[in-house]
Each structure stands twice: as C-alpha cells, then as structure tokens.
Amino acid sequence: MNHIQGFSPAAASALEKIAEEVSVCMQCGTCAGSCPTAPAMDYTPRALMRLLQAGLFDEALHSRTIWMCTTCYSCTVRCPRDIHVTDILGKLRGIAIAEGYAETAGMTFNKAFLGIVRRYGRMFEPELLIRYHLRQEPLGIVGAAPIGLALLQKGKISPLPERLPAEGLAQIRRIFEAVEARRKAAPARPHPMHEVSR
C-alpha cells in the first residue's frame, strides 16, 4: 500500500493498519443492518468500511458515523469477515481528535473524559458534565439539573473527585505519556506476525 498522504505519520500508520483490516470486507451490510443507530448516520457502517477500502480517509474522519456509534458491538459480533468494526470506529475517533478535525459533541465528551481520568485516575462526573456542557450546549446544563439534583439527593453524585494516591497518579500520567509517545513514534509497517496474531 502506498504511504497515506495528508496525515501525520502517526495517523497515516494507524490508517494503514485499519485499511489492511477492512480490506477483507465483502460489503454485505450485516453491520449496518445490525446497527441501532445506522439510520441516523450519514454513512452506514458498511459504507464507512467502503470509504476506508477506497482510501477516502478524510471523508471517513469527517463522517457523523464515527460519533454516532454506541459501541454496542452488534456489528462486530455478526461481521461474517471478523472485522472489528466497533474497534475501528473507536480508533478513527482517536485519529480525528489527534488530527484536529472539527469538534463534535462526541469529541468534546471523549476529550473531557480522558482529561479527567488523566488528572484524577478516576472518573468525576460533575466535572465531566460541566466541561461537556460549557463547550457544547451551555443551556443544556439547566435541563440536566433536575436529574442531577435527584442523584445528588440519593448520594449518587459525589461533590468532590476521588483521586488516586500520588504514586498511582504518577503511574497513570506515565501511562498516558508513554502511550502518546508510542503513538507519535508511528512505527513503520508492523511485523506481519503481529498482524496475524491480532
């Protein structure tokens, strides 16, 4: 396969691996027929696989599809060619974020979520909600308030984040850094053995 143009080396390398996986897609549409949100997508999952097969990565990364996935894995479970469609959509979300594609609601959510995990080692929902709404729909927070209050009353929202101890936090931070460093290092073509034992 030719080197993929127009992307950072890290993204090109990741896309290349994805393209290799979807090369065996036979376009049967089982994924789309199984997908609960396919009717709301601009490209059905099958059509997205086709974009990837055709090398139209930019279209794929712009698509609404990758942010409409609920990760229910129905497509993956049923794919007759054993393509891990759900995981591929997840990876495309990562590439869209890293490559600076326009921020969608889903993207805001992902960024805020991982930011919090990186900071505390654990989730802290109030901050997630605030960060999400500030960026996407400031008024939405008013709509969320009644349920938020109900949960607060039942003790289901904690007002303060639970942090890991310092040592653990340092480990988490190192994990994030190491993963990011590896992603950026954009390994050359993977060893074929890695491919088959995936």
Binding site: C72, G94, G121, I147, A178
Partner: protein
C-alpha cells in the same frame, strides 16, 4: 474446598451513581461465601473514550489486572463497560505476545503475563458458585416478580467465554432460580440502551431506552433486571424523560439487588431506597 476468592474491581460508577450495585454485589458475594479483595489503588478503565487508542485501553485496564495477577487472583468487574475493557485486555495480553510486550513496556513498573482472567459477577454466580447452591440459599423466593432480564450489550461482547453474545441466558437462569417469573425478553435483552449517546445525541439515546421499556411491558414484565451502570442510568433516572406522557414506568433493579432480596438480605443494605423509579408497588406484590 478453598473458598472462592477474587480481586474486585468496582470501577468509577460503582462508587457514585451505581453505589447500590456495589453494595448489593458485596452483600450477595459475602452471603454466598465468596471473598472479594478490592484492587488497591484501582484506576478508571477509560471506558468508551479509551477505545480511541487500544494501547491506552490495555494499559489503563492492565494496571488494575497486574495487581490481581501478582496475587494469583481472577478479577470480578460488575460494570459492563469496565468488564469489557478489562476482559478485552486480558484476552489480548494472553493471546498475543507482541501486545503483551507493548503493554508491559507502557506499564513500566508492573507487568502482566496473561494468566489473569476477568469475570462478570454473573459468570461467577452461575458458573463458580452454581445455580444449585444459590437456589438452595433462597429464603424469600421472588414469586410475583415478572422480570425482563436485560443484559445490555457489553457483558458478552465482543466475545466472552461464558455466554452467547446474541442470546445470553445466565441471568434468565439466575432469576428463575430465585423463584421469579422470567419473561422472554429476546431479542431486546442485548439491545443497546443508547447510554453512550446520552450527552451527545440525547434524543436518539432516549428513544432507544423508551423502546426497551415498551417492549418489556409488551412481554408482560413488571420489572427489569440490569447488570450495567450505564443501562441503569438510562433505565432508572432517565427513564422518566425517555417515556412520553401517560406511559407507564417500569421499575428496574440491579440483578444483584434481586439476588440479595431472595437470599433474605435486608433491603436497606441492598440500596433499594436509591432507585429513582419507585419500586414500592412491585416489591409490595412480592408474595
């Protein structure tokens, strides 16, 4: 025989929005003589956002698994999302030496050999403890409950060694063992609740949730058993917003709350009071 012992990974939700899940898992396992050792200093598995980078997901999950593996314990993870991430990680690390090496390189000070297995509480209860044993311990059969067993999508997907991804039956069998009537909830038992889109595409997500409630009513259920904090978020606090005016709400419970009830554990200890859709009516129907 040695008592059953597991490393316990509660996950973030079980400390907050799903605290009754946490309480009921602990209470039920305790009552059945299964020992849970909470993983010290556990961290978030990264949930769905971590799937944007497989290595990140493996590493975040792997840090928790390493603690268990070092102690020769298998891991129990009640939250479906955490279970999926942890289990995927364990499977990948076990199957592929290249992945293992990469994950260990990122983890740095801890490492994995791939021996550790991850189990959902359903599997532990049905397989390791056994339905027979649970049936034997029921002191308060759940007669009167007509339960729609709702597994959600992630317990048996993308793959898992203990139940079918299309038509799992473990929870059906478990609820039947408790003396409840189990309604045939296929194919909705694994249908997505929409939870992942709650913030970003609320309308679509609530539509998916509403469908689940309506189908459960159609099948004659008077309650629903859950096994996932995200499904719970949709089907308990957000059930009201999902339903249209005049539509009848359906009380939902974590399956472990129901087991606890049948085993005669004090309902307060199981967190029944924390439910948003009031369970009073249906619990009163318990003969």
């Amino acid at each position: 025989m040695n008592p059953l012992r597991y490393a316990y990974y509660p996950g973030c939700s079980l400390t907050t929005s799903a605290k009754e899940y946490d309480r009921s898992v602990r209470a039920v396992f305790d009552a059945l003589g299964v020992e849970l050792l909470e993983i010290e200093g556990w961290n978030c598995c990264g949930a769905t956002p971590a799937s944007q980078n497989e290595l990140l997901m493996y590493a975040l999950s792997g840090r928790n698994l390493a603690w268990a593996e070092a102690r020769g314990l298998d891991v129990v993870a009640p939250c479906s999302e955490c279970f999926k991430n942890l289990n995927k990680t364990a499977q990948a690390v076990r199957a592929d030496p290249a992945v293992r090496a990469e994950v260990n390189a990122v983890l740095g000070d801890v490492s994995l050999t791939g021996k550790v297995r991850v189990k959902h509480p359903l599997e532990v209860l049905v397989r390791d403890v056994g339905l027979e044993e649970i049936r034997r311990r029921v002191t308060r059969p759940l007669a009167g409950l007509k339960i729609a067993p709702y597994y959600g999508c992630l317990i048996t997907r993308p793959r898992n060694e203990f139940d079918s991804p299309e038509n799992p039956t473990a929870m059906d069998d478990l609820m039947a063992a408790l003396g409840a009537e189990v309604v045939d909830y296929f194919p909705y038992k694994t249908r997505c609740c929409g939870g992942a889109l709650l913030l970003s595409n609320k309308r679509i997500a609530l539509g998916m949730t509403r469908d689940l409630v309506i189908k459960a009513h159609q099948r004659g259920a008077n309650s629903m058993a859950l096994a996932c904090p995200m499904c719970d978020m949709m089907l308990d606090p957000y059930q009201g917003p999902a339903l249209r005016a005049g539509e009848k709400p359906l009380p939902t419970f974590y399956f472990t709350q129901l087991i606890g009830l049948a085993l005669g554990i004090d309902p307060d200890q199981l967190g029944f009071a924390d439910r948003v859709v009031s369970p009073r009516e249906v619990l009163a129907a318990l003969s």
